[in-house]
Amino acid sequence: MQFKSYVMSNAEVSPGYFRMRFTVPAAVVEGSVPGHFLMLRVVDAIDPLLRRPFGIFDVGTCSAVFAESGRTSYGEILYKTVGKGTRLLSTLHQGDVVDLLAPLGRGFDLGAAGEEKLLVGGGIGLAPLYYLAKELTAKGEKVRLFAGGRNRDDILCITEFERLGVETYVSTDDGTLGEQGLVTEVLERHLQSSGKRIFACGPTPMLRAVAVMAKMHRVPCQVSMEAYMACGVGACLGCVLPGANHSPETPDYRCVCKDGPVFDSEELQWS
């Protein structure tokens, strides 16, 4: 669905990382599931031209800010400033208007009740996992979060996860927060027994390591992928990734915006 949205708040939560809350139609709260994403038009100009994709960090309702009475439906994104679009986005204030397409894509399959849910996030990859953790803990599932980053600044919103009752494991490359080392090393220690399911989002090398590990331990694993996008609705075919059996002779491309962004890790090619 396409709609105009008011920015409700937009604040830096860690150096270079922002969290933005904005109004959405109630149908977006009802229609979205964890893993869905949105496409945001930062400015109504030709530079930057294209919309920017962001995972949905959270949706919900809160007491009215702009509505005349009652409650307002909102969405949130957590984003890292990397280039032109996200830097401009970080300058928006309460009351500014953005144009959104949401919810888009295929989200996470929450899996069977009673499995232990292992969430693995690298840096900004934590963004869609909060919404996921919220839904899982609401169902009474046991959720563990493995959060990794280069340094302490990359570890975002951990207290929010903890407030949901999620057990968190933090690791950083430089050891400035949590354990020193890779998030995948910490994860591996928790894969020994069965009845688990992995949900991962982060840089591709991390996802590759998680996918390989999951396969070895026979743990079902879903990954949320990124690709350069233009349309976000399956029309331009710009955002594809090679599927598991892809080769130049037998091509098998999967559309990240329509078939994903969440895939079973075995659906994709990792080499």
Binding site: M1, Q2, R41, I46, D47, P48, L49, L50, R51, D99, L101, A227, Y228, M229, A230, C231, V233, G234, A235, C236, L237, G238, C239, V240, L241, P242, P251, D252, Y253
Partner: protein, 305 residues
């Protein structure tokens, strides 16, 4: 005042207004049904179809540039048979004329795809792409050699009774020469332009951004080139023209009409605004109403020099 008459006719295809969607930017139609009334636009052009399904190029396939974007999709499509069985039934429920964009890797393939489309109800016309910068074919680039272009067009002409639109490439020295040779070979209308070959470099990695190295530039950045080519062609060729390139709003579209186009196609704009084609048709109508112009056709080629 009465509502302005927005209807136009291109190569016998009657359209309720001059706004069409550009091939490759509107999927097979259904992708945008959630965002706009498909029946509100003049015509809908499909993704480029080939004989066999085509996988397209490796990624990254797109990159943004100031005022535009580069793409090297490589004409990924479901192939003509899957189009007929899987995509066309949906389009049959839409009252807007559907134009099938097609291309071939060889001369024969152009003819074969055209003849498969020929008997099909639900296809109002065909648009032949002789201009994609992203596929290489045995040394011949159909769209840059007037002789080759004429060969393709006359072969397709023999294989179809449907209105035949030929889509020209801007990557030529003389677009008018290409236009003339397609007209002589039997085209009913010409659309111009396709994307301009370009490239983007990642300075930090010291590599091209696109896996294909080069790609096709589209969006507002190409509008001046497109307008110039439409204007030059309109003065030299009698066929109806379809203007394409960087059209973002009703005013952009009307500039193409003044330059000599009978209709326009909206491409990249649909990515930023999935309802762009419908909005642009409304903005055109509003401009006409505000200026007391009764019929959009009166603006075709009405540029004052």
């Amino acid at each position: 005042m009465q509502r302005p008459d927005m209807s136009v006719e291109v190569a016998g295809i009657k359209m309720r207004n001059p706004v069409m969607t550009a091939s490759g930017t509107f999927g097979y139609g259904a992708e945008f049904a959630e965002y706009m009334e498909l029946d509100s636009i003049g015509a809908l052009v499909t993704k480029g179809l080939s004989l066999k399904p085509k996988a397209g190029n490796p990624t990254p396939r797109i990159v943004e540039t100031p005022g535009g974007m580069l793409n090297a999709i490589g004409l990924q499509n479901v192939g003509i048979d899957a189009f007929i069985t899987e995509k066309l039934p949906y389009l049959a429920g839409v009252s807007t004329p559907v134009i099938a964009n097609l291309y071939g890797n060889t001369l024969e393939e152009y003819g074969e795809v055209a003849s498969r489309l020929d008997g099909l109800p639900g296809v109002a016309g065909i648009e032949v792409n002789i201009s994609c910068p992203n596929v290489k074919q045995g040394g011949i680039v159909f769209g840059t050699d007037p002789g080759c272009a004429a060969e393709v067009v006359s072969l397709v002409r023999r294989n179809t009774t449907k209105p035949l639109i030929v889509k020209l490439s801007p990557n030529v020295t003389d677009v008018v020469e290409m236009a003339k040779s397609c007209a002589d070979a039997g085209a009913d209308a010409l659309s111009l332009i396709n994307t301009l070959t370009g490239m983007a470099i990642d300075l930090d990695r010291r590599r091209p951004v696109l896996a294909n190295i080069t790609g096709g530039l589209s969006g507002p950045a190409i509008k001046p080139v497109a307008l110039r080519m439409v204007w030059q062609t309109a003065r030299a060729v009698k066929l109806p023209l379809i203007g394409i390139g960087g059209i973002m709003n009703g005013r952009d579209a009307l500039e193409f009409i003044l330059a000599g186009a009978t209709a326009v196609q909206v491409g990249t704009a649909s990515f930023l605004d999935p309802g762009a084609a419908q909005r642009i048709a409304q903005e055109m109508e509003l401009y006409l109403a505000e200026h007391g112009i009764a019929d959009v056709k009166s603006l075709i080629g009405a540029l004052e020099i």
